[in-house]
Amino acid sequence: MPKTLSPSKPKTNPACELVFGDLWEFDPAPETADPKLKKKYDLFINGRFVPSRSGKYFATINPATEAKIADIALADASDVDAACSAAQRAFITWGRLPGKERGKYLYRIARLLQDHAREFAVAETMDGGKPIKESRDFDVPMAAAHFFYHAGWADKLEFLAPGRQLAPHGVVGQVIPWNFPLLMLAWKIAPALAAGNCVVLKPAETTSITALKFGEICQEAGLPNGVVNIVSGAGETGAAVINHPLTSKVAFTGSTEVGKIIMRSLAGTDKKLTLELGGKAANIVFDDAPLDQAVEGIVNGIFFNQGHVCCAGSRLLVQESIADEVLAKLKRRIATLRVGDPLDKNTDLGAINSAEQLAKITDLVKSGVEEGAEKHDNGCKLPAKGFFFRPTIFANVSMSHRIAREEIFGPVLSILTFRTLEEAVEKANNTAYGLSAGVWTDKGSRILKMSTLLKAGVVWANTYNKFDPTSPFGGFKESGFGREGGKQGLLDYLKIG
């Protein structure tokens, strides 16, 4: 018997195991709404869709089938310049518009997003690979919720900082990642517009479609020309947005590596900067936690959106006395996770966003095996085409392993153990990151204590991956600075005099 097994817990009889077989297979249940895609997407500048000046386009593919979806215009510095100038011109009127009027536009955008919810959900899933149940039940409704929330703030800005003078920055340059394309857009654009700024936004290279579709929503809402500009492209386009002399505030969500480059390039300028970067969150389970619900939270924490979540609970810290039991429960739980066609309503894990990301995950998993951690996956069949990865768990991980230190950004969980609260805190904080953490225990006082000791921007208690527009989100240390959502997030889009 492994010595970590607590004598007070029921022992597992090795002869008995449950059978999660194919007795009752589910037939395909694809979402059939029309995503209304175009073959070619132009840049959204000054309220109109315009081709890139260089005439260059790049292909965007569906990561689940590797089939091309559309050509996307590649913006260069001159396109970005046009977008920034348009934003600057629009700011003259938009910045002076009464908050009440700006709020009306935001409400209209929010309602239009709801009207087009199914269309956006399917487009998001096709372009990014996430399961339709997540884009349908989380991404799109949450994006609309952010516009509703900030619409409410637009005419109440003076209550954000009573007695102080608040003013918009002007043109805001925003660069967003590929894991939640539409939602990250909403997190960025909604507060910026509510505060009276105009926006130049660059979506991620692999997921531009919903951002450009959002341009259509702006047109439908009658948003004044130039208030929102969307320039698609790769890293160079992003750099042009960030370094453009007209952008007085920069907001970036993405990798810590790129965040550092941005910080260096903005040093010596008076641009305001907020960064929301990577994470390696600890999800800490104490031995008094309700284990089945903790296991559900662990699964939700790491396998939500294939683990492409900056706040994913990728390091599971579990108290030694229950480690074996938690591992057994996790193995049983992932046996029922369904990996496959993201458009199928029953799919739990969709496609990895790109071949590049799949290679990175594969490499890190290989290093985990080589460094001696014990690998388990659910052994399910993967589709022949597309980028897929099985839900994977590593037991016996130590703090020095790469899989315990580096952000994997995939469906891979590393399990470490601890004995005392102090050890848990020490291990949880022993990372360059500090975006989020989870605590699972029945003891309320312990939750409060942990929440003050953990150096993380968000600490979830007995739950994980819960978001709300009212709740500020952001990191410590190399996970970035600045907040998004809530009062704090909105203040980052205002000059405080």
């Binding site: 007070s8 817990k9 029921p10 022992k11 597992t12 009889n13 002869a15 008995c16 195991e17 449950l18 059978v19 999660f20 077989g21 194919d22 007795l23 009752w24 297979e25 589910f26 037939d27 395909p28 249940a29 149940k133 039940d137 936690a289 309700p290 284990l291 089945d292 619900q293 903790a294 559900e296 939270g297 029922t336 309503k345 029953n346 029945d442 007995n462 739950t463």
Partner: protein, 312 residues
């Protein structure tokens, strides 16, 4: 044992079996309701559900005639298509002999509620005599109620002794132990009562949610608590216990959600009517209605299906 011991007793039990987080488990079961079951998998699920129904009538106004129609319906739920028989008919002890006449020699079992159903508020002797009488009349299965008063007072020994006595009185009949979850108040208590019951019943005896006679009955939440208790008990002891949610499951869609919970919690070996049942009356009509829709491709006129348990 004085009632003041209850919290200490329960705490000791929870130390051993663990507790349930209310919010977490309801989030878990909400995911079952987003599963989309189509085409062949839907037909499989609907047919499986029909085969798991304990077609029930438990009313003061039950007559031998009504029980006869009920049995006929259990034997042949629908005259078209390939609809399986239900698992059992479930009646009061006085109706057992009438039911037995109609289903003898078929695979449909006769289940009888007993032990002063639904309250259980009768002397143990009386309750046991009722069980013996029902078995003697030919009941294949006995649905008993636990002594909720004893459980809530922390008198676990008494509660378990009573169940053990009923097990003995059952002889060869299968036992279903009704926890009456709505009177246990919390998910923690449902888990505790499940374990107490499972430890004194035999392999493939059932634990069952409700009598159907109180305000709230089977829900995906309390079904999940009990499925997880069965799973933990099985993995620890090797003893498989069967499960029966009862009351409140009226639509085919609900039944499919419950079956998905079984599939994803206990796996394939519980997806049969020896290990899982539905205590229901109106449910069968909707299952047949949906099967007919799958067979013909169209919903039939409402008057083609009766809403009555025993009607067609």
């Amino acid at each position: 044992m004085p009632a003041t011991k209850a919290p200490a007793n329960l705490r000791r039990l929870f130390d051993e079996i663990g507790t349930v987080d209310h919010v977490g488990i309801e989030e878990r079961v909400a995911k079952y309701t987003t599963r989309s079951i189509k085409k062949k998998s839907k037909v499989f699920g609907l047919r499986l559900a029909v085969s798991m129904v304990d077609l029930t009538t438990l009313e003061g106004k039950d007559t031998p005639g009504k029980v006869a129609s009920l049995c006929q319906k259990a034997l042949c739920p629908h005259d078209q298509g390939d609809v399986p028989q239900t698992a059992a008919v479930c009646v009061y002890p006085a109706m057992v002999k009438h039911a037995k006449k109609h289903v003898a020699g078929t695979s449909v079992k006769v289940a009888s509620v007993a032990t002063a159903f639904p309250s259980g508020q009768a002397p143990l002797k009386t309750r046991l005599a009722e069980v013996t009488a029902a078995v003697n009349e030919g009941a294949d299965e006995i649905d008993m109620v636990i002594n909720r008063g004893a459980f809530l007072a922390g008198e676990f020994g008494r509660m378990q002794d009573e169940i053990a006595a009923v097990v003995e009185a059952c002889g060869k009949a299968t036992l279903k132990v009704i926890l009456e979850v709505s009177e246990l108040e919390t998910y923690d208590n449902i888990r505790a009562a499940s374990f107490l019951a499972m430890r004194v019943i035999r392999p493939n005896d059932f634990i069952k949610t409700s009598t159907g006679k109180t305000s709230s009955n089977a829900t995906l939440g309390n079904n999940q608590v009990m499925l997880e208790a069965i799973r933990d008990h099985f993995l620890a002891t090797g003893v498989p216990i069967a499960m029966k949610p009862a009351g409140g499951i009226r639509t085919a869609k609900q039944a499919l959600h419950f079956l998905i919970a079984v599939k994803e919690t206990l796996g394939d070996e519980w997806l049969n009517n020896r290990r899982y049942r539905f205590g229901a009356s109106a449910l069968l009509n909707d299952l047949v209605r949906q099967l007919e829709k799958e067979r013909t491709g169209a919903y039939q006129a409402p008057w083609n299906f009766s809403e009555a348990t025993e009607g067609y």
